[in-house]
């Protein structure tokens, strides 16, 4: 599995997609955090990365889908899936290595934003007046959220041999689970039903973990969510055998 993981990472770094994803993420978060009028750090006057954590889930929907869109679909189209699935590897190890590679790439993308943390830490009055607990929680939340997106992305990539179809499917499913479900909670006449449905949404748990209190229930929700979609991926993967 380690070999497959290395190969996935190498193929990410060898292709343009990885660099575009990293560039786009840093550019967008940088712009919104420091420059875009109305909502940036200086307008708000609060030393926190809240702006970045508010928009990141939406940027990541697109970026994670872009990372995962070709991981299985391309192998299906080229036929290389037939080669690796006839090597002494289990289907599960193939899927998991692709999953961990995608998550690693997102972590790599998030790393440079630690510079923002450093900058804001020093800008704060007095220096260091920043809620580090909440920031750390938000980072953890983003990584877990990206893991969920990655599992959705892999599933979408497994059901088609077309990258674009995979990209769009993945974005729609991710948006549904992040945003649509939590919007249901805001609809008055849905009342308790809406509230319960929003619990199944990713945003509910991301917000909760962002507060800086790492609740094991949220972590388990994210991990369980990823596992379910990875399970679906494996089902699709094995459907050739039916």
């Amino acid at each position: 599995m380690w070999t497959l993981y290395k190969k996935e990472i190498r193929s990410f770094l060898g292709s343009l997609i990885a660099y575009i994803v990293m560039g786009v993420y840093l550019l967008l978060t940088g712009l919104f955090l420091w420059f875009v009028d109305g909502n940036n750090l200086f307008d708000l006057g609060v030393a926190s990365l809240q702006v970045m954590f508010d928009i990141s889930p939406f940027i990541l929907i697109f970026l994670v889908s872009a990372i995962t869109m070709r991981s299985i679909s391309e192998e299906k189209r080229l036929g290389t899936l037939e080669i690796i699935t006839t090597k002494p590897l289990t289907d599960r190890s193939i899927i998991l290595s692709k999953f961990f590679a995608s998550v690693s790439l997102i972590i790599l993308t998030l790393l440079p934003t630690l510079f923002y943390v450093y900058a804001i830490y020093n800008l704060a009055q007095p220096v260091g007046n920043i809620d580090l607990g909440s920031t750390a929680g938000s980072y953890l939340g983003l990584i877990l959220l990206a893991a969920c997106y990655a599992s959705i992305g892999l599933f979408s990539s497994a059901i088609t041999d077309n990258q674009i179809v995979a990209l769009i499917t993945s974005m729609v499913i991710s948006f549904f689970f992040y945003s649509v479900l939590s919007m249901l909670g805001d609809i008055d006449w849905l009342d308790q039903i809406g509230k319960s449905l929003s619990w199944f949404g990713l945003e509910y748990h991301f917000d909760s973990i962002s507060r800086g209190v790492i609740d094991t229930r949220d972590v388990i929700f994210f991990l369980g969510f990823s596992s379910i979609f990875l399970g679906f991926t494996q089902l699709v993967f094995e459907s050739r055998k039916w």
Binding site: T3, G14, E82, I83, T86, K87, P88, L89, R240
Partner: protein, 238 residues
């Protein structure tokens, strides 16, 4: 017996792709696997290599069951799928090293060197696979199949789409390999079978149509093309 197949059957939905075929191949034989397009050659090979499971029937390679111990079978089988799929953005050596690693080869460097030598890829080894011509890509595919020194080689149309010189070269490679390995190869070119194979298995519409050694065929004194047409019930119109 190196490859043993017993009443192997595969349905795709209601369609029968392979219909209860049985054959035994002793180790060391080079067997030509013939049949018209859609006869079920590739499906049979996919079942033998563990890509898809059979609907019914059993098979074993070197005594290892292809369904129960699929992972163990894959360790001793080298497989070149139809159309030779490759990671085009990888370098030749990188690709072969990767293949050696996932095939659980012990001494990777030596295995890669040996595969490159056997398939005569020395001059292309530092190129990207995407830059190679079809003939060289075919060699990379072949090198991938034999990287872990498998006992059995299953090659699905290894010479399709190559120019006459490349065909002869690939053929020679396979012939050398056939000296100490069991080879099952499918092809449409009759001369190839005559040149390489010890035995011919013909299937038609999923059924076994013929299974004979090359020697006994040669005694019959008719050419292989006619035998093929007869076995697949093709009426000569010329």
């Amino acid at each position: 017996m190196s490859i043993k197949v017993n009443k192997l059957t595969k349905y795709y939905g209601k369609q029968t792709a392979v219909n209860s075929i049985s054959f035994d191949i002793p180790s060391g034989e080079v067997v030509g696997f013939l049949g018209p397009n859609g006869a079920g050659k590739s499906t049979t090979m996919k079942m033998l290599t563990g890509y898809i499971p059979p609907s019914s029937g059993t098979g074993s390679i070197c005594g290892i069951d292809i369904i129960e111990n699929s992972i163990d079978v894959r360790k001793i089988v080298g497989y070149l799928p139809e159309n030779n799929p490759l990671y085009l953005d990888m370098y030749v050596t990188e690709y072969l090293t990767f293949m050696a690693e996932i095939s659980e080869v012990r001494n990777i460097k030596i295995a890669v060197e040996k595969a490159i030598e056997t398939t005569q890829l020395q001059r292309e080894r530092h190129k990207k696979i995407g830059q190679l011509s079809k003939g060289y890509r075919q060699r990379v595919g072949l090198a991938q199949a034999l990287i872990h020194d498998p006992k059995v080689l299953i090659l699905d149309e290894p010479t399709s789409g190559l120019d006459p010189i490349q065909v002869v070269e690939i053929r020679n490679v396979i012939k050398t390999l056939g000296a100490d390995k069991t080879v099952l190869l499918s092809t449409h070119i009759m001369q190839e079978v005559e040149a390489m194979c010890d035995r011919v298995i013909i299937i038609n519409k999923g059924n076994l149509a013929m299974d004979q050694s090359m020697k006994s065929l040669k005694k019959e004194n008719s050419n292989l093309e006619q035998i093929f047409r007869k076995a697949t019930n093709h009426v000569d119109t010329v």
